[in-house]
């Protein structure tokens, strides 16, 4: 193969890639942060003794976990505007899709975290007269969340990768910026190689942080009992 590599286009347009990366980070961070309270609300609904509420929340979670995210995005970008009869910006549609998607996954993490706590913690809290809400807020959630932090970060990494779907509706995140550059320069090999590298470096650093956090949490003594 006598392909001659040429990275001129990258060095000339790195600011576009950087802007794309910034948009990707924004999209991921915003939808993840918005998805957290929504996910917690869903988890509490699923754990509720009211059958209708927990059924509805279960249906929501299943829907977002069992349909391709690209289909969800198309639905919010192309189908929803027809119902509402308004134009939806690509950024809004992408943010909406990823937030709801993330909340569904986060809900399952919350639910698992809450369920994993020893039943004795509920006993201890209720025996001093705490209500369900007080026990949840003061005793159960603080412990559950601490255990869930590494899993949350893993989810954020997944979400970052999923956020590339926004490129198909022309939201200028990293992959979209790359497509644009590749099309204009005919340098697909260089552009996509560099973009893959950028994703890899970003996500590996993020997972390093996760690993370190896990170690720190493990060392913080919560795991020993006597």
């Amino acid at each position: 193969m006598d392909y001659s590599w040429n990275f001129d286009i990258i060095s000339r347009s790195w600011d576009l890639l950087l802007l794309g990366l910034a948009n990707s980070v924004y999209l991921t961070a915003a939808s993840f942060v918005l998805g957290l309270p929504l996910g917690l609300a869903l988890a509490l609904a699923r754990l509720s003794r009211r059958k209708a509420l927990s059924g509805l929340a279960g249906w929501y979670v299943d829907f977002f976990r069992a349909t391709p995210s690209l289909v969800q995005l198309y639905w919010f970008y192309f189908a929803l505007p027809q119902i509402l009869n308004v134009q939806i910006e690509p950024g809004t549609a992408a943010l909406l899709t990823l937030t709801l998607l993330s909340s569904a996954f986060v809900a399952e993490i919350f639910r698992g975290g809450i369920a994993s706590l020893d039943k004795g913690q509920w006993d201890g809290a209720r025996a001093i007269g705490m209500s369900y809400a007080q026990a949840m807020r003061r005793v159960i959630l603080p412990q559950a969340i601490k255990r869930m932090i590494p899993i949350f970060l893993e989810r954020a990494i997944e979400l970052f990768k999923t956020s590339t779907i926004a490129s198909v509706i022309s939201f200028p995140e990293l992959l979209f910026a790359a497509q644009d550059l590749a099309a204009r320069s005919y340098r697909s090999l260089e552009v996509y190689s560099v973009v893959a590298l950028i994703f890899m470096v970003t996500l590996i650093s993020l997972s390093q942080i996760t690993r370190r956090l896990e170690l720190r949490l493990a060392r913080s003594g919560e795991t020993t009992t006597s």
């Binding site: 004795g120 913690q121 201890g124 007269g129 603080p142 006597s226």
Partner: protein
Amino acid sequence: MPEAIRAEKLFKSFGDQQVLAGIDLSVEVGETVVVLGASGSGKSTLLRCMNFLELPTGGRIYLHGNLVGTPLGNQADAKMKYAEPNLQRVRAKVGMVFQHFNLFPHMSVLHNIMEGQVTVLRRSRAQAESRARELLAKVGLADKADSYPANLSGGQQQRTAIARALAMDPEVMLFDEVTSALDPELVGEVLRVMRALREEGMTMIIVTHELGFAYHAADRIVFMDAGRVYEEGHPHDILIAPKRERTRQFLEGHNQFRLPEAGPLVASEQT
């Protein structure tokens, strides 16, 4: 003495398994009642029903003569309706200590003892802290206020749990095998705290397998079998001269291997 707490024809079933089959138990203010019985006889369930960690499926509980809950009808055996906020007030007044401590591992010892005071009783943090320190001194843990449960011995954790329950100023204290998970050398420090409470006039219902403690600390012993009160009476009558078969078998099992001249029961084995 007036009555502190009373269970009347108490029934509890889990699914179709009946665990409590009509318990009558009345405890006077300042009285210490020790509940004995084989594993699975319903001792824990009885305690958990008395502070409504489990809802009884039949019967009534009275706290200082006041019926807890509302009967759904006029008959004496009408089903009861329980409102959760009402039960929370009852639980705050009926303290409970568990076999496995159930301390909050993410809070320091001090905060474990302050938590209920602040969240449930709405005491100020300053008030709660001074009460917590007072109780820590009382259970001999004044120097452990800032430790976390994970860094305490089992005995220290259990004394913290007792202080946490006492911080609510309970009218009755329930103890469910609170020394069963402890290394033998740590049992004494917990039993001493309980004895001190008895001397202060605390009303207590204690489930334990420490027969020596039961003999010395109980005003009355209740022996449970298959979800019923099988035999009850003065510690000497129940522990030394039980009248009924099951009680005798239970005590024989407990006393089979004993040091010579070790305990209070030694001179007077059963017939």
